[in-house]
Symmetry: C2
Subunit: 175 residues, 2 copies
Amino acid sequence: MSITKYIRTISDYPKPGIQFRDITTLLNDAEGLQVCINQITDRYREQEIDHVVGIEARGFIFGTAVAYTLGVGFVPLRKPGKLPGPTVGIDYQLEYGEDRIEMHTDAIREGDRIILMDDLIATGGTAEAAIELIEGVGGRIIECCFVIDLPDLGGAQRLRELGHSPFSLCQFEGD
Amino acid sequence: MSITKYIRTISDYPKPGIQFRDITTLLNDAEGLQVCINQITDRYREQEIDHVVGIEARGFIFGTAVAYTLGVGFVPLRKPGKLPGPTVGIDYQLEYGEDRIEMHTDAIREGDRIILMDDLIATGGTAEAAIELIEGVGGRIIECCFVIDLPDLGGAQRLRELGHSPFSLCQFEGD
């Protein structure tokens, strides 16, 4: 079953010409949330996974439910200054300006098998930064999992070119 | 089983004299995450709940796993400017300065039975603002659920005085 019907499109947000794909209607719907998390966890249930890593903030929403259901731990990648222990971090480019994500240095061990989780892949800049952080401490990324892919923005293709496997539950073209 | 052993304490964060209770070690531990989410969902499984509402960002981490496991929908309360649809919002006082949380206007219907979820209750300012938002659109809060309570900071007591039922999985005194 496609989850597309649970996702609301809001035109001209956050600026004119943008079709914003809103996952809050998916989350709000008991059936939608079941279908979404079940589709993700069914994909990884037979695989040996050590951690699900979720990117702040919407990656937290999906990542912990997936980690709990798979019976593995969850690792948050956070915006700067939010994690209390020793961290590693990485700066990355946005369309306008820069951003940074951080991870606890001891969150992932050498060889850990990781699912990277976020709500959406657009240009892929955040995912690429997350991959660099995780691999930098020796984590092995089994798959990068997104609820939504906007393929016209090229992020999934970029991850494939870097040797990674992006997976998404649904795609919206023409964005 | 107490979840206390999974929580790491980091002294003098974010400033001298503060004992920071770090839930990332709980999340990171597959068993810790199971115990935590199971204890919360066991408490509400026999109750009729419509939505779990989680407060950005750590309330997202626990809230969606709880909502999914209970088979209900999840509603995020977000920092300003993050929700794409029409919102209601509320400003509230912090120890230093002000903050604001927002909710989609159509996220909760009159009479919906709600569990409010956050990682921690300290002075209770954020929880109180969340309660006002939820009740303002007609939601009925069945319980306010926290992973950690710092009772010396008085938040849980304040919620009780307002007629609410705060529940927490563990308490750290002397903070």
